[in-house]
């Protein structure tokens, strides 16, 4: 009665399905060149590009332009011989060109020499423009013989840990964990559903929990590689200093990866088409792209929305990664953001498992 398949191999154990699912998933990922690029190469390129663009220059000269006219050269000489002359670079150009280049950001300030004195044209919305006006005015006044009443001195302080690149790398790490969790789990699942592969899997004795665990595990393996690459890159290329414990960084990153995996699972729990899930994923990620402080601090947003921003999972992840990496904070001091992440992850997983459609 029972069909005799010629050679039956040894019986499979409890975890063989999980192990083979994870293995298959990793092989598929490695064989997809786009995945390698977006997950591993792109964040490094981004860090490199932004790190270069916003590097702390040894001597950050302020570029200003003097409108050509009878007194232009006189003003230029005054600026050069002033005490601040080293940090001001002044060009002389015709008015139209000068205004044009000011508008494009090549110059922070336009100086228009007048019969007696000068007129400044600056943009109060641009910090460097405001600063240039103060500095240039200071330089012109002192070079023309103004006596300062208070004697002051300055010491420069620019340590690793306080630079833009130091701020950026933990933010990129958080963003990358969000991206790869949402796309790597959400998108992958809907694609498999659309191809009827999910339905085919549940037509076997495969444990559904094994499948979801394997998918999440594959993200954790990628997470470890991403983490190593980004931190290693920061340390080697930008001499970043990691103040916190590596185990703490790993733990928070893993929690972040799982939490965003849960969010990805929830986003993908019912969508039938990859087009619709792409829209959903972008919709879910959009507020975090804007508010969660990846590229700049969310302190710039009005204080009234800070509680909302801090409740977002990416904000929690970024804040806690920055605290651990840059300030050496202990895990216990990060209880609040860790709780936020855990709640997002837990609630998402619970809802996703309730709503999830296998076919």
């Amino acid at each position: 009665m029972e069909p005799n398949q010629s050679k039956s191999t040894a019986a499979n154990g409890r975890w063989s399905g999980y192990y083979r699912l994870l293995q298959a998933r990793m092989k598929e990922l490695i064989r997809e060149p786009e995945v390698i690029f977006w997950v591993f190469i792109f964040p490094l390129l981004l860090a490199f590009g932004l790190g270069i663009a916003f590097r702390n220059k040894p001597e950050d000269k302020i570029a200003v332009v003097i409108v050509n006219g009878p007194r232009a050269l006189q003003v230029q000489q005054l600026l050069q011989k002033s005490a601040q002359g080293r940090s001001i670079h002044a060009d002389v150009l015709d008015e139209a060109i000068a205004n044009d280049k000011f508008r494009l950001g090549a110059y922070a300030l336009v100086i228009v020499p007048q019969d007696s004195g000068v007129q400044y044209r600056f943009d109060p919305a641009r910090p460097e423009s405001v600063q240039a006006r103060v500095q240039v005015d200071d330089a012109l006044q002192s070079a023309s013989g103004r006596q300062d009443v208070v004697k002051t001195s300055t010491v420069s302080s620019s340590e690793p840990g306080a630079r833009y690149i130091d701020f950026l790398i933990p933010g990129l790490l958080g963003m990358n964990l969000m991206n790869s969790g949402m796309w790597g789990i959400g998108f992958a699942l809907v694609e498999m559903r659309q191809r009827k592969l999910l339905k085919r899997f549940v037509a076997t004795p495969m444990r559904r929990s094994d499948f979801l665990m394997a998918l999440t595990s594959s993200r954790l393996v990628l997470m470890i590689i991403e983490l190593g690459l980004l931190l290693g890159f920061g340390i080697l290329v930008f001499h970043m200093r990691v103040a916190g414990k590596f185990a703490a960084i790993l733990l928070v990153s893993a929690l972040g990866a799982i939490s965003f995996g849960g969010l990805g699972l929830l986003t993908a729990s019912r969508a039938q088409k990859i087009e619709s899930v792409s829209g959903l994923i972008n919709l879910v990620m959009m507020p975090m792209w804007i508010f969660s402080g990846v590229f700049f601090s969310y302190e710039r947003f009005p204080a009234i929305i800070h509680p909302f921003i801090k409740a977002l999972p990416l904000t929690a992840l970024n804040d806690s990664l920055r605290a651990i990496i840059l300030q050496g904070a202990s895990l216990s001091s990060q209880a609040l953001p860790i709780a936020v992440l855990a709640i997002w992850g837990g609630v998402s997983f619970a809802l996703a498992l309730r709503w999830f459609r296998w076919s």
């Binding site: 069909p3 499979n12 092989k27 598929e28 064989r31 592969l197 037509a203 004795p205």
Partner: protein, 309 residues
């Protein structure tokens, strides 16, 4: 003989509106190859997916190997091999990796090398699934069902879109499985497939069984094993009454200009037919004779062709 698949008064209504299945009863003994034959949209896939435990019926009962899906899902899955209509397996895995993955889900899987050998996939063992031809992909789909060492094989439209050679290869695979004692349930809209492969079949239309039996029985029920197809011109007033009066004619069907007569013995009917045509001053434009097929059964029962859109 034990029963492999049993269902009673199976009904499925989608969204409370569309009646896909409207009362199907099946009793398939172990070791049989049973076919669900019907046009597209007849409810074949819905029926087979309910039997596979992938869809819940709106009402009716299902027993597979004497067990119900509600109580024995995991155990049953160990015994079933399923090939769905158009599953797209992961393109970046090789044939061997795909089969290794599917085998890992079963407690006692078949040998992967053995299955690849049987389905002529050994040569392609290390090729990516994305690089396979349509026939190879379909064989791989069946291989993923066989690798679990099943007792029952469910195949939903296994040869749709395949070239004749690949179809015959798949038929051989099904016969091999049956020889080892396996039970097969397959759906098809190819009557030749149903006729050659199935021990018994149910013809399904609009969610209902309209005929059930072995291919020979079903054809027998037509009343005639042979079909005479004729076309006449001239005094075309010769009505059905004339054809009906010819010896051995069981039934008549019009298909555009062609008139099909179901007959018992062509050698008795043909001379009488020729004489009658001459007598009426008509001209015979066309005359062929062939064996009756399941297609004729379907047309007689529904008035439509199997492959009509």
């Amino acid at each position: 003989m034990s029963v492999a698949i049993l269902c009673r008064d199976l009904r499925k209504t989608y969204d409370g509106k569309v009646d896909a299945v409207r009362g199907i009863d099946l009793c398939i003994p172990a070791g049989e190859c049973f076919g669900l034959l019907g046009p597209n949209g007849a409810g074949k896939t819905t029926t087979i997916e309910i039997l596979e435990g992938l869809l819940a019926p709106t009402s009716g009962t299902v027993e597979i190997l004497g067990m119900t899906w509600r109580e024995h899902e995991r155990g049953l899955r160990e015994w079933l091999g399923i090939s769905l209509q158009e599953t797209r397996l992961s393109e970046k895995l090789t044939v061997r990796e795909t089969l290794t993955l599917f085998a890992s889900f079963y407690r006692e899987p078949a040998s992967i090398d053995g299955v690849m050998e049987e389905l002529s996939l050994t040569e392609k063992a290390d090729a990516w699934v994305g690089k396979l031809s349509g026939g190879q992909k379909q064989r791989l789909a069946v291989a993923t069902a066989l690798v679990g060492n099943p007792r029952i094989l469910f195949l939903d439209e296994p040869t749709t879109g395949l070239d004749p050679q690949s179809r015959r290869q798949l038929w051989d695979i099904v016969r091999q499985f049956q020889k080892r004692g396996g039970t097969i349930l397959l759906t098809t809209h190819y009557m030749d497939e149903a006729e050659r492969l199935c021990d018994r079949l149910a013809i399904i239309d609009h969610g209902k069984t309209i005929a059930e039996g072995s291919p020979a029985e079903l054809i027998e029920r037509l009343g005639g094993h042979h079909v005479l197809e004729i076309a006449v011109s001239g005094n075309g007033t010769a009505g059905d009454a004339l054809w009906k009066s010819l010896p051995g004619v069981q039934s008549i069907r019009h298909d555009e200009d062609i008139i099909s007569l179901q007959v018992h013995e062509p050698h008795e009917t043909i001379p009488a037919l020729l004489a009658a045509v001459q007598q009426h001053g008509s001209k015979l434009e066309h005359l062929t004779t062939r064996q009756a097929s399941l297609e004729d059964v379907f047309v007689q029962l529904t008035g439509r062709h199997l492959r009509e859109e």
